[in-house]
């Protein structure tokens, strides 16, 4: 499925101000590994549709967001609860690893 691309304004509205948790993938067009995690992030977005906001931030297009959250390596996944970053996963190796990351914060 097509991923939700977020600019600063959309990020503020859908991640910081929204009432539900969010999974944000910081990526870049030149990052070849980012493409590899795409199908897995898409599958999770479909599974949690309506309950979890899943979106992408292109760090080249939104350097301010990348800097604010200290993104040094892409892909980095950030899980947000109540507009606050709860945890991060850097370059996950499998769908299972991303699932575990989400479920860990979903409950806790």
């Amino acid at each position: 499925m097509e991923m939700l691309q977020m600019d600063g304004e959309r990020f503020s509205r859908e991640v910081l101000a929204a009432g539900k948790p969010a999974l944000v993938e910081f990526w870049a067009p030149w990052c070849v590994y980012c493409r590899r995690i795409g199908p897995a992030v898409g599958q999770l977005a479909a599974r949690y549709a309506g309950r979890l906001t899943v979106g992408q931030v292109n760090i080249d297009g939104e350097p301010a967001l990348a800097e604010r959250y200290g993104i040094e390596v892409v892909p980095t996944l950030l899980f947000f609860r109540d507009g606050q970053p709860a945890d991060r996963a850097v370059a996950p190796a499998s769908l299972a690893e991303i699932e575990d990351f989400v479920t860990a914060h979903w409950k806790g």
């Binding site: 870049a28 030149w30 990052c31 070849v32 590994y33 493409r35 590899r36 995690i37 795409g38 199908p39 897995a40 599958q43 040094e72 390596v73 892409v74 850097v90 370059a91 190796a93 499998s94 769908l95 299972a96 690893e97 699932e99």
Partner: protein, 307 residues
């Protein structure tokens, strides 16, 4: 109870998806387990120039997706799941995964290979934050910085060249006094202008103050140690077959590759090994695809009672 597939393929690289294509076209019920996305190692290469039929090269991720689509069009199914354990003895084989249990009459093990590690203290902790195994993936984080590349083969040379376009300074650390890389690389490395060589040197420690600050190197001839300041280390010292889950069941060679000849048959009936995970002389996309076709053929013969 879970369905029993004719063929269960573990790994979605060129070996796995070729096996899936051939098995499905042979009329077999084929399921393929992939932990992340199609393509395997080649999905990290943006231009593949030795897959025949593409004179201008082809993007590895794109090629992986095409292989997946082809196999699925023939009737094979992909499940995005990570294999956690396997029981390959007996007539019905089972593989436990992150998405539940899978059962099949035949299994084609096509899990490929993964980067070899140096085994230094702190290496795991710093992975992705100073220590890297893929220049194409993580290189851009070191724009304008100094990095070390450890290794002397083709992939180390390619990594050094790729990083030299981004970084201020690249230091290639190699334990011998010449590179194993093909001659075509030597001239390019010399011409890059910002690549230096540290010959006869092996890393002995990752130096850190919070994050990575450098690499301690030992000269293998004099035994003398020195510290190289760098912002990142890219390790390119070969690949190890991904055979961790099957090492108690399948016969392996001393490097950990599955012992199976050109027939791809392992020591267990109904279990086949295809691609980089198999002990073989040449690990390439074409030879992986070839293994996949042979493995599917042998699996069909086994299921028909002739294998």
């Amino acid at each position: 109870m879970e369905p029993i597939h004719d063929v269960l393929i573990v790994g979605g690289g060129p070996a796995g998806y070729t096996a899936a294509l051939y098995a499905a076209r042979a009329g077999l019920d084929a399921a393929l387990l992939e932990k992340l996305s199609a393509g395997g190692q080649m999905a990290l290469t943006t231009k593949i120039e030795n897959w025949p039929g593409f004179p201008d090269g082809i993007d590895g991720f794109d090629l992986g997706e095409r292989m997946q689509r082809g196999a699925e069009r023939a009737g094979a199914k992909t499940v995005l799941a990570e294999a956690l354990s396997a029981n390959l003895w007996g007539e019905i084989k089972t593989v436990e995964t992150s998405a539940g249990r899978f059962r099949a009459r035949t299994v084609i093990w096509a899990t490929g290979a993964e980067p070899r590690r140096l085994g230094l203290p702190g290496e795991t902790e710093l992975t992705g934050r100073g220590v890297h195994y893929c220049a194409a993936c993580d290189g851009m984080a070191y724009r304008g910085k100094t990095v070390a590349v450890v290794g002397g083969g083709n992939s180390a040379a390619a990594d050094a060249l790729q990083l030299s376009r981004v970084c201020k300074r690249v230091v290639l650390v190699h334990r011998r006094d010449t590179l194993r890389a093909e001659k075509a690389y030597h001239e390019q490395l010399m011409q890059a202008g910002n690549i230096e060589f540290c010959w006869n040197s092996v890393p002995t420690a990752l130096l850190r103050v919070g994050g990575l600050r450098g690499l301690r190197l030992r000269d293998v001839q004099t035994g003398r140690e020195r510290d190289l300041a760098c912002d990142g280390v890219f390790i390119s010292v070969g690949r190890a077959p991904a055979t961790g889950l099957v090492r108690e069941q399948l016969a392996l060679d001393e490097a950990g590759s599955i012992l199976a000849g050109e027939s791809t048959k392992t020591n267990l009936p109904g279990v086949f090994a295809a691609g980089d995970v198999r002990a073989k002389a040449l690990r390439q996309i074409v030879t992986a695809a070839s293994d996949g076709a042979v493995a599917a053929h042998e699996a069909a013969a086994y299921l028909a009672g002739g294998g």
